[in-house]
C-alpha cells in the first residue's frame, strides 16, 4: 500500500510540470491573479500554429533536428559497434579497462573541448554545415555507445564466431551474420538513446552553427537570449512539439530499451 502511495507521489511530482505545460499548449491556463486561482481559456490548437509565426523557421528546424539526430545516431552506432567488437575480442587484456576509460570520456562535458573544436571546424570549413554538425554530435556521444556495446559484446560467447570461422566465413560475414543478430536488441536500444541525446544536444549545434543550420534546442535558446520574451502558450506548444517524437519513440520501444545496460561491461561473464 505504501508502495502505491509513494509511486503516485512520484508520478505527480514528475509529471505535473509536464501536464501543466501540455494544458497551456492547448490554451488552458491558470489565472493566478484571482483569489483563489481559477482556470481560464478554452481548448484550442491555435498556439501550435502560432509557433510558426513566433519562429518562422520552426518546422524547418524540426526537420533539421530529426535528420541530424538520425544521421549522428546511425554513424555513432556503426562506428562504436565495430570499435566495441575490436575491444571485446582483443587478446589485449586491458579491453575492459579501456571500455571503462571510454566511460570517463563519455562523462566529459562537451564544454571542455567545444571551444577549440569550433575553431578547428572553422579552419576545415565545416562550421554551419550539416556534415560538421553530424560528425561533432556523433563524436560527442560515441564513447557512451562504445561502453554499452562493449558490455553487450563481451558477454557473447566467442564459440559462435569460432564455428563460423571454421566454416570459412570472413570477418564481414562473422560480424554481419553471427555477431550482429545476437546483439541487435542492444544495438537498437543504444541507437534510440543516442537519438534522444543528439536530438536534445544544445552546446554542439549552438557553437558550431550560425544560422544556416539550426536545430530545435538552439532555437529555444534564441527564444531568450535575444530578449524576445515569448508567449507562454506558444512556448509550451513548441516544448510539446519537441518532446512528442521522443515520447512516442520511447513509449513504443520501452521493452527494447531495457537492453540499454551500463552494468554488462563490468559484470562477471555469465556461463
Amino acid at each position: 500500500m505504501s508502495r502505491i502511495i509513494l509511486l503516485l507521489t512520484a508520478l505527480v511530482a514528475f509529471l505535473l510540470p509536464l501536464a501543466w505545460t501540455a494544458l497551456a499548449s492547448f490554451g488552458l491556463l491558470p489565472d493566478n491573479s484571482s483569489r483563489p486561482p481559477s482556470w481560464t481559456g478554452s481548448l484550442t490548437l491555435q498556439h501550435f500554429s502560432e509557433i510558426g509565426i513566433a519562429e518562422p523557421t520552426f518546422w524547418q528546424e524540426l526537420a533539421t533536428s530529426t535528420a541530424a539526430a538520425v544521421c549522428a545516431a546511425a554513424l555513432t552506432v556503426g562506428v562504436a559497434f565495430l570499435g566495441a567488437y575490436a575491444l571485446a575480442r582483443s587478446y589485449f587484456r586491458a579491453g575492459r579497462m579501456l571500455a571503462q576509460g571510454f566511460l570517463v570520456l563519455a562523462s566529459l562535458p562537451v564544454m571542455a573541448y567545444v571551444i577549440p573544436l569550433s575553431d578547428f571546424m572553422r579552419r576545415i570549413h565545416l562550421v554551419d554545415t550539416f556534415a560538421g554538425l553530424v560528425l561533432a554530435e556523433a563524436a560527442a556521444t560515441a564513447p557512451l555507445a562504445v561502453f554499452v556495446l562493449h558490455g553487450a559484446l563481451a558477454q557473447l560467447s566467442p564459440e559462435w564466431e569460432e564455428a563460423a570461422v571454421l566454416d570459412g566465413a570472413g570477418l564481414c560475414a562473422v560480424l554481419g551474420r553471427v555477431v550482429f543478430p545476437l546483439v541487435a536488441p542492444s544495438v537498437a536500444a543504444t541507437a534510440i538513446v543516442l537519438f534522444v541525446l543528439d536530438w536534445n544536444m544544445l552546446l554542439v549545434p549552438l557553437v558550431l552553427t550560425s544560422g544556416e543550420i539550426k536545430t530545435i534546442p538552439v532555437a529555444m535558446s534564441d527564444f531568450f537570449t535575444f530578449e524576445r520574451e515569448l508567449d507562454w502558450p506558444t512556448a509550451a506548444a513548441a516544448l510539446i512539439v519537441s518532446l512528442a517524437p521522443l515520447a512516442v519513440l520511447v513509449a513504443v520501444f520501452h521493452r527494447l530499451l531495457e537492453r540499454f545496460r551500463l552494468d554488462a561491461s563490468t559484470a562477471q561473464d555469465i556461463g
Binding site: L6, L7, A10, L11, F14, P17, P30, N32, P36, P37, L75, G78, V79, L82, G83, Y85, A86, L87, M97, Q100, V104, A106, L108, P109, V110, M111, A112, P116, L117, D119, F120, M121, R122, L135, A138, A142, P143, L171, V196, W199, N200, L202, L203, P217, M220, S221, F223, F224, A236, L239, L243, A247, H254, L257, E258, F260, L262, D263, T266, Q268
Partner: protein
C-alpha cells in the same frame, strides 16, 4: 585492429585532436581573432584562477554536484526500487516516469522559467490556493537561485537514473530478496545488504556519468537564470562559454574549459580504481 579505425578516426578528428590542439593553444596568446601568437606559459590559467567569477563558478558547481548527484541517485534508485517487481501498471509507470529526461535541458529551462514565473505558473497557483500573497520566481532570488537550479536538474535527471538502474535492479534474483526477508531484514537492510552490493559497479558507473553531467551544467541554467542573479548560479561551463563567445576572451575561455576536463579526469581516475576494485562474486 582495422575495426577500431573508424572509431579512432571519428574520435580523433572531432574530439581528441581539437582538444589537444586547444590545450597547446592555452599556453599561448592564440585566439582565432589575432594574427600574432606568442608563448605565454601559464598566464591564461593564472588569469582564470585569479578571476573572482571563476572562483564563484567553482563554488557553485561544487555545491551543485554535492547536492544534486546524491539526490538524483537516491530519488532515481528509490523509484527503481518501487518498480523492481512486475506488477500491474508497472510498464505504464516506467514509460511515464522517464518523460522528464526526454525534455531537453534547454527546454526544461524554458519550461521551469514559466512554471516559476507569476501569472501562469504552478508556484503562484499553489500559493494562491493557500491564500498566500504572490511570490516572485525563486530563480531570481539571490539565495534561492542555486537550490532552484538544483531542483530542476534533479527533476530532469532522477528519471534517467531510474531508467539506467531498473534493468539491473529487476534482474537481481528473487531468492536474494527472499533470503533477506527470512533473515528478518527490514527494507532499509534489504537495500543496504542486497541491492547496493549487487549493483555496486552499476551505481559507480551512473555516479560517474552524473558527476560529469553536473561539472558541465550549462543548458538549463543558461535560460533559467543565465548564471545570475550576480554570480549565484554561474558554473564553469557558463563562464567558459561567456569568455570565449561573448566577451571574446578566447584563451581564458579555452583554459577554463580545460580545467573542467581536469576535474572530470580526476574523478575518472577514482572511478577506474573503484570499478576495478574487487570483482563481483
Amino acid at each position: 585492429m582495422i575495426l577500431f579505425a573508424p572509431l579512432a578516426l571519428l574520435l580523433g578528428a572531432w574530439l581528441v585532436l581539437p582538444a589537444v590542439l586547444g590545450l597547446f593553444a592555452t599556453f599561448t596568446t592564440y585566439s582565432p581573432f589575432t594574427t600574432t601568437v606568442r608563448f605565454s606559459g601559464l598566464a591564461n590559467y593564472a588569469a582564470v584562477v585569479q578571476d573572482p567569477q571563476f572562483g564563484a563558478a567553482i563554488r557553485n558547481v561544487a555545491v551543485f554536484t554535492a547536492v544534486a548527484v546524491p539526490l538524483e541517485l537516491a530519488v532515481g534508485f528509490g523509484i527503481a526500487y518501487l518498480l523492481r517487481r512486475p506488477t500491474r501498471g508497472r510498464e505504464l509507470c516506467r514509460v511515464l516516469l522517464v518523460m522528464p529526461w526526454l525534455v531537453s535541458p534547454i527546454a526544461g529551462g524554458v519550461m521551469w522559467h514559466f512554471l516559476f514565473g507569476g501569472a501562469t505558473g504552478i508556484l503562484d497557483f499553489v500559493f494562491g490556493w493557500l491564500g498566500l500573497p504572490e511570490v516572485a520566481s525563486p530563480a531570481g532570488d539571490l539565495r534561492l537561485a542555486l537550490p532552484t537550479a538544483i531542483a530542476v536538474e534533479v527533476w530532469r535527471v532522477a528519471p534517467f537514473v531510474t531508467f539506467l538502474l531498473l534493468p539491473g535492479l529487476a534482474s537481481i534474483p528473487n531468492e536474494r530478496w527472499e533470503e533477506a526477508k527470512l533473515a528478518g531484514a527490514s527494507w532499509t537492510q534489504q537495500i543496504l545488504h542486497v541491492a547496493i552490493p549487487e549493483l555496486r559497479t552499476l551505481l559507480l558507473t551512473v555516479a560517474m556519468l552524473l558527476i560529469g553531467l553536473s561539472f558541465g551544467a550549462f543548458d538549463t541554467i543558461l535560460v533559467l537564470t543565465g548564471g545570475g542573479p550576480g554570480t549565484a548560479t554561474l558554473t564553469p561551463a557558463l563562464f567558459s562559454y561567456g569568455r570565449a563567445f561573448q566577451t571574446n576572451d578566447w584563451p581564458v575561455g579555452a583554459a577554463s574549459g580545460w580545467l573542467i576536463a581536469v576535474g572530470v579526469v580526476a574523478v575518472g581516475a577514482v572511478y577506474l580504481r573503484l570499478a576495478r576494485g574487487r570483482p563481483a562474486t
